[in-house]
């Protein structure tokens, strides 16, 4: 064996070792997911058994069905879906309209307004929960879906994101339609929006996940257990004596499924959007 071949073999061994070691780290990292599912499919007595059992003696897959109907995580799941989908729909429509105005229409004070929109991004959400709750309270919307949905559906980030994307679309594409006398709304709907699906998809994804995972706001507004979203529902059974840990783990699994599926299915989109952030760091 020549020295070059030897060093190549050495670096290959190192490569394999490096892949294997990180795979081991990744496996350990995934352990909480495993522990959640493993405890979701056993009896509560087995959850509390001492010493702990890594795998249940008896697998109780029907716990998922029981958690869905009895606790009722099915209801919470639907509530979460209503909130997340509604917020996402409103956000996309409102952001496309305002983003188009910022990108393509001339009006007095446009740049100042855009700066004001950007400035609001610096206000941390948790600061506003008290006045927001008082507003929702005054509007008589405590414990209603509109009370949870409306205050979080008008974020300024979407307007900015859509503006940036619209600016990248060549103006010529809409000039022809304008000469034909098409209205701005028509141009937005039939020309600009179809071209903007990557940005709309990204905005929808992050808006949906943000609301699906949101906890503090629905916790405050949804005072009735029937209206609880999944994260709020998960905490409702936490403090009672004789916590049904197995059902709660089943509920936690249900609450994680959409995010896990989206993160895997849309990994390229997510990576590209984060890469855009990485690239904007000064370059």
């Amino acid at each position: 064996m020549t020295t070059r071949a030897k060093s190549r073999a050495g670096s290959m061994a190192l490569d394999i070792l490096s892949h294997g070691a990180l795979a081991l780290v990744a496996l350990l990292f995934l352990f909480p997911f495993f522990w959640m599912v493993s405890n979701a499919v056993r009896s509560n007595a087995e959850v509390l058994a001492i010493p702990v059992r890594i795998l249940p003696n008896v697998f109780e897959w029907h716990n998922f069905a029981a958690a869905w109907t009895q606790l009722p995580f099915g209801r919470f799941f639907v509530n979460s879906l209503i909130v997340s989908v509604s917020v996402t729909a409103i956000t996309v429509v409102v952001s496309c309209l305002s983003g188009y105005a910022f990108a393509r229409l001339k009006f007095p004070g446009r740049d100042a307004l855009l700066m004001a929109y950007l400035a609001t991004l610096m206000v941390p959400g948790i600061m506003l929960i008290i006045p927001l709750f008082l507003i929702v309270n005054n509007l008589g919307m405590v414990n209603t879906f509109q009370g949870v949905i409306l205050p979080v559906a008008f974020g300024t980030f979407g307007s900015f994101l859509m503006r940036q994307f619209f600016l990248s679309i060549p103006n010529e594409l809409e000039e022809a339609a304008r000469i034909d006398g098409a209205s701005r709304l028509r141009i937005l709907v039939s020309i600009i929006v179809p071209l903007s699906m990557p940005a709309i998809g990204l905005l929808s994804l992050f808006s949906f996940i943000g609301q699906w995972n949101n906890f503090l706001w629905p916790l405050i507004v949804m005072t009735g257990a029937d209206n609880a979203t999944l994260p709020v529902g998960l905490t409702l059974f936490q403090t009672q004596q004789g916590t049904a840990w197995n059902y709660i783990m089943a509920g936690a699994t249900l609450s994680m499924l959409p995010g896990i599926i989206l993160a895997i299915a849309l990994q390229k989109l997510i990576y590209n959007s984060i890469a855009l952030n990485a690239g904007m760091g000064g370059r």
């Binding site: 909480p32 522990w35 229409l105 600016l167 000064g282």
Partner: protein, 311 residues
């Protein structure tokens, strides 16, 4: 920078060309396009911000009429409330430890992943997964892991390490909150830094290699300076979110034991929605805002010393 300039140019050209035949209609169209957004922003962002300032100078307790009390809430915070200083200390302690560990771990993972020949995207996805799951669900799962005689105690016992019950111990409870936050939050920065490392031009590294630079030197002298703007971005964003930590604490410790894990975010919730001291809670919220601004300003000031912008 170049993108902004390009877009500015494309935006300006057609505008000047048709300035003459610009009609008032465009302004009206813009008004209607902006209206839904403006109503929402004013009602749910501008009014709340102003209301929050005003509230912080009142003693409103949800029921009854609020009275203007001047700076009394702020005076009470800094001089009379025995809970405030521990809460502030806990928040800063959490932020400091979480921020440092998050950056070290995520940068380490990002470098490790970028050095691999196969499976990069799968490792990225695995570490990113918790980022897309509800923080509440994550915290509940970890609560079971840390429960008395739970999995963590089982491992410690197997290793013959004696530890008190984690979530009810004065010092360990906060460490548990940090661990859970790291598990949940390290993935975003890992992907962010990994993406930045992918953008480092390969010929820079190749040139350095030919000049005889070791892998260690290439990392510290080329890759790290080149991704430092992204590191800065990640640091600022992570600091802002960690100062607001709430979900994990609500589930795992409710600020306890005692007030060992009570943070500003938790204090706002507790004062506002358990004691219904809306005015007082608003004052705490503004302390948090001041802290976020101060820390962000500090980082912008410090970046001159370590962030490298190429232009």
């Amino acid at each position: 920078m170049t993108i902004a300039q390009e877009t500015a140019v494309t935006a300006i050209q057609p505008a000047t060309r048709r300035r003459n035949r610009l009609n008032a209609g465009e302004g009206r169209t813009a008004f209607f396009f902006l209206l839904p957004s403006l109503i929402g922003v004013v009602l749910f962002l501008v009014v709340p911000i102003i209301a929050s300032v005003v509230l912080s100078f009142t003693n409103w307790k949800l029921l009854g009429t609020p009275q203007f009390v001047g700076f009394a809430n702020y005076v009470r915070l800094f001089t009379a409330d025995p809970q405030f200083w521990p809460v502030l200390r806990n928040t800063l302690f959490f932020t400091a430890e979480y921020l440092v560990l998050n950056l070290i771990i995520s940068l380490g993972l990002a470098v490790w992943i970028s050095s691999l020949k196969v499976g990069q995207k799968w490792f990225r996805v695995i570490f990113f997964l918790p980022t897309f799951t509800p923080g509440i669900a994550v915290a509940i799962v970890w609560m079971l892991i840390f429960a008395p005689d739970g999995f963590f105690d089982f491992i410690m016992a197997a290793l013959s390490i004696h530890v008190p019950s984690v979530l009810t111990d004065q010092t360990l409870a906060m460490q548990a909150v940090v661990v859970v936050s790291l598990w949940a939050g390290v993935g975003y920065n890992t992907v962010l830094f990994n993406a930045a490392l992918d953008m480092v031009p390969a010929n820079y590294l190749e040139a350095a290699r030919i000049d005889g630079a070791t892998a260690w030197e290439r990392f510290w002298k080329i890759r790290l300076p080149l991704i430092s703007p992204t590191l800065f971005f990640g640091t600022v964003m992570t600091a802002i979110t960690s100062l607001q930590v709430f979900d994990q604490i609500y589930v795992m410790t409710r600020g306890g034991p005692g007030n060992a894990t009570a943070t500003l975010g938790y204090a706002i919730y507790q004062k506002g929605f358990q004691n219904f001291q809306m005015g007082y809670a608003s004052a705490i919220a503004w302390v948090m805002f001041a802290l976020i601004m101060a820390l962000t300003a500090l980082q912008f000031w410090l970046q001159r010393k370590w962030v490298h912008y190429d232009n």
